[in-house]
C-alpha cells in the first residue's frame, strides 16, 4: 500500500516538476517576450472556443431551415442603416445570420485543417522514418514520389483529386493528406538519416532491439521537434487550401459550408453591394491563418537549432 502511495505521489510530483521545468525553460522565457506568439495563441484559443462552444451562443443554427426566415434576407450588419442587433454581421440571401454561419463554418474549417494535418503528419512521418532508416530501394521509391508531387503546386494537385472524386469532407481529407504528407516525409527522412548514424542507435541495435522499436521508440522522439513546427503551420495552410477549393466549388458540400464556401456564397452577390456576406468570413479566415502562422513562426524559430 505504502509503495503504491509513494508511486502516486511521485507521479504527481513528476507532473508538477515537468510543469515548473517548462515555466523555467528557455522556450517559455522567449515566449513571454514574443508578443506575436502570444497574440497568435490568443487568436487560436478564441477560434477553438468558437468552434467548440460557439454554436451554443449564436442566435441561430443557419442550416436548420426552421430557424431561418427568408424575410430576413440581405440584412446589413447591426451598425448600418436597417441593421438589426440580432444579426450582428448581417444576413445572406437566405436570411441566414452571417455570424452564426461563420461560427459553424469555423468548425468545419478547423476540423478539416486539424484532421488533415494529423493524417498527413502520421503518414508522412512514418514514410519518412522508413525511407531514412532502411534506405535503398524503398527510400528511392518514396522520395521519387515525393519529388514528383513537389513539382506540382499543392493546390493544383488537390484540385485535380477533388474534381475526380467530387465534393465531400472525406474526399477533401484524402486530397489534403495526399498533398500534405510530402513535407513531413522529406523533413523526417533527413532528420532520420542524421539520427541513425548516432551511437545510441548503434547501441540499441547491438542489444538486439527490433527495427520497429528502434524506429518508433528511439528515432521518432528525436526527430519529432521538426514535425511539430511543420504541423502547426500546416493547419493554417490547410485551412487556406480548403477555403480555396471550396471557393472554386470543389471543396466541402453545400450542406456543411466552411469559411471558404461562405466567402464564395457571398461573392456571388458581392457586386450587388452586399459586401458583408463575403467580407466577414474572409476576414475570419485571415485572422485564423494569421494566428496559426504567428505561433508557428515562433515555434520554428525556437525549435530549430539551426536558427538559434
Amino acid at each position: 500500500m505504502t509503495k503504491l502511495k509513494i508511486g502516486v505521489l511521485s507521479a504527481s510530483v513528476n507532473a508538477e516538476n515537468k510543469w515548473s521545468q517548462f515555466l523555467q525553460s528557455e522556450f517559455y522565457f522567449n515566449y513571454k517576450r514574443n508578443i506575436a506568439a502570444i497574440a497568435g495563441t490568443i487568436l487560436i484559443i478564441l477560434f477553438l472556443l468558437m468552434a467548440t462552444v460557439g454554436p451554443l451562443l449564436v442566435p441561430q443554427n443557419p442550416y436548420n431551415l426552421q430557424e431561418i426566415s427568408i424575410l430576413d434576407a440581405y440584412k446589413p450588419p447591426a451598425w448600418a442603416e436597417d441593421g438589426e442587433l440580432r444579426y450582428l454581421l448581417g444576413t445572406d440571401s437566405q436570411g441566414r445570420d452571417i455570424l452564426s454561419s461563420i461560427v459553424y463554418g469555423t468548425r468545419v474549417s478547423l476540423f478539416i485543417g486539424i484532421t488533415g494535418m494529423l493524417f498527413s503528419c502520421i503518414i508522412g512521418t512514418v514514410l519518412g522514418l522508413v525511407a531514412g532508416f532502411f534506405g535503398g530501394k524503398i527510400d528511392s521509391l518514396i522520395m521519387r514520389i515525393a519529388d514528383i508531387q513537389l513539382s506540382f503546386p499543392a493546390t493544383l494537385i488537390a484540385l485535380f483529386i477533388m474534381s475526380i472524386s467530387g465534393r465531400g469532407i472525406v474526399n477533401l481529407l484524402i486530397a489534403l493528406t495526399l498533398v500534405g504528407w510530402v513535407i513531413y516525409a522529406r523533413t523526417v527522412r533527413g532528420a532520420t538519416l542524421a539520427e541513425k548514424k548516432k551511437e545510441y542507435i548503434e547501441a540499441v541495435k547491438v542489444i538486439g532491439l527490433p527495427n520497429y522499436k528502434i524506429l518508433f521508440k528511439h528515432i521518432l522522439p528525436n526527430v519529432f521537434t521538426s514535425t511539430i513546427v511543420i504541423a502547426t503551420i500546416q493547419v493554417g495552410s490547410f485551412v487556406l487550401t480548403e477555403a480555396t477549393l471550396s471557393f472554386l466549388g470543389v471543396g466541402v458540400p453545400v450542406t456543411r459550408p466552411s469559411l471558404g464556401l461562405l466567402v464564395k456564397n457571398g461573392y456571388d452577390v458581392l457586386f450587388s453591394g452586399l459586401w458583408w456576406a463575403s467580407t466577414f468570413p474572409g476576414l475570419f479566415i485571415m485572422l485564423l491563418v494569421f494566428g496559426i502562422n504567428m505561433l508557428g513562426d515562433f515555434m520554428r524559430d525556437e525549435l530549430n537549432p539551426r536558427l538559434k
Binding site: 548516432k198 551511437e199 548503434e202 547501441a203 540499441v204 547491438v206 542489444i207 538486439g208 528511439h218
Partner: protein, 327 residues
C-alpha cells in the same frame, strides 16, 4: 574444445564503394576461450572496429562479410539470419562503444534504457527488472543507484555514462563483450578506473572480452592475448607477455617504442614514420613495408603469411625480429 567460445577463421569483410573495394578486414583468424580477454590493437583505419561489428553481424552496406567463419559457441554466426542474430545481440554478445556522450538516447532515463535489454532478453517482471537495474548500477559503482535510476543521461558525467553503458552491456550476462575503444573519450584519470571495473566485471561474470583499442598501454594491463592489426590484416598475435617483451614484428615494436615513458631521458619520442596507406591502393607486398625500418626487396613484392614462431605467438613478417622456430 569445450572451452572455446569464439573462433574466427579467415574472416574477410569488404566494402564495395564507388572508388573501389576496401578490404577493411582481410582474412583474419583468431580464437577466444571463455573468460579470456583479447586485445585488438592497431592504428585508426586498421579494421579493428569492422572486425568487432562483423562478429555482431552489423556490417551495413556497402560492406559485406565476404568469406570466413565466425564460430560462436559452436555455431557459425555468418549462417544465422537476422532474427536469430537479434536474439544473440545483447544476450550473448554485447557491445560497448567509444563515446559515452552519444551512446545513450538523450530522451529516456537511465532506467528505461537499462530495462530495455532486460525486457528483450529476460522474462523478469517489472519489479525484478527494477531490482536487477539497481544491482547493475551498484556493480558498476554508481552511488545511490535507486535514486539515480530516474536520471537522464545529461545529468551524468562522461565516466558515469560509460559505467551505465557497461551496465547495459552486462545486463543480460553476455558470454562475450566487445568493447570498441571504451576509454578513448574519457579522462585519463577515469580510464584506469573504467578499465579496472570492466576487467573485474568480466571476471565476475565469467565472460570473455574483446577490447579494441589503439592504445597498447591500455591493453597491456588488461588482456591475456593481443592481436595487432594493420590494414585489415593481423601482423602479430600472441600472449600478452610475448608481445610486450618479445615483439617479433617491426610494427609492434614500433608501437611499443612510441609509448612515452616517464623516466626516459630521451629527448624525442620515437615514432613510426609515414601514415597508414590509402586503403584503395594497398602496396603489393607487405602492407607495412613502406613504413618499415628494416624492409628488404622481398617485402615489396611478396605478402607475408602469418607464421607461428612460438606456441600461440604468430607473426606475419618475412624477417621477424625473432628467428622463426626459436624455442
Amino acid at each position: 574444445m569445450v572451452n572455446k567460445l569464439l573462433e574466427v577463421k579467415g574472416l574477410k569483410t569488404y566494402f564495395h564503394t564507388f572508388k573501389g573495394t576496401v578490404k577493411a578486414v582481410d582474412g583474419i583468424s583468431f580464437s577466444l576461450n571463455r573468460g579470456e580477454i583479447l586485445g585488438i590493437v592497431g592504428e585508426s583505419g586498421g579494421g579493428k572496429s569492422v572486425a568487432g561489428f562483423s562478429i555482431m553481424k552489423l556490417i551495413e552496406e556497402p560492406g559485406f562479410i565476404q568469406a570466413g567463419e565466425i564460430i560462436f559457441q559452436g555455431e557459425d554466426i555468418n549462417r544465422k539470419n537476422e532474427r536469430e542474430m537479434k536474439d544473440i545481440r545483447g544476450k550473448d554478445i554485447a557491445m560497448i562503444f567509444q563515446d559515452p556522450m552519444t551512446s545513450l538516447n538523450p530522451l529516456y532515463t537511465i532506467y528505461q534504457q537499462l530495462e530495455e535489454v532486460l525486457k528483450l532478453h529476460s522474462k523478469m517482471g517489472a519489479k525484478a527488472r527494477r531490482e536487477r537495474c539497481i544491482e547493475l548500477l551498484n556493480q558498476v559503482g554508481i552511488p545511490q543507484p535507486a535514486d539515480r535510476l530516474n536520471s537522464y543521461p545529461h545529468q551524468f558525467s562522461g565516466g558515469m555514462r560509460q559505467r551505465v553503458i557497461i551496465a547495459i552491456a552486462l545486463a543480460a550476462k553476455p558470454k562475450l563483450i566487445i568493447a570498441d575503444e571504451p576509454t578513448t573519450a574519457l579522462d585519463v584519470t577515469i580510464q584506469a578506473q573504467i578499465l579496472q571495473l570492466l576487467k573485474r566485471l568480466v571476471q565476475e561474470n565469467n565472460s570473455s572480452l574483446i577490447l579494441i583499442t589503439h592504445d597498447l598501454a591500455v591493453v597491456s594491463q588488461m588482456v591475456d592475448k593481443i592481436i595487432v592489426m594493420y590494414c585489415g590484416k593481423i601482423l602479430e598475435q600472441g600472449k600478452i607477455d610475448d608481445i610486450i617483451y618479445q615483439p617479433a614484428h617491426p610494427y609492434t615494436s614500433g608501437l611499443l617504442n612510441s609509448i612515452p615513458r616517464l623516466r626516459d631521458q630521451k629527448k624525442r619520442l620515437e615514432q613510426i614514420p609515414g601514415i597508414v596507406p590509402n586503403m584503395f591502393q594497398l602496396p603489393a607486398g607487405c602492407n607495412f613495408a613502406p613504413r618499415c625500418r628494416c624492409f628488404r626487396d622481398k617485402c615489396l613484392v611478396d605478402q607475408p603469411e602469418i607464421a607461428t614462431i612460438e606456441k600461440e605467438h604468430g607473426v606475419a613478417c618475412h624477417f621477424p625480429l625473432l628467428e622463426v622456430g626459436r624455442i
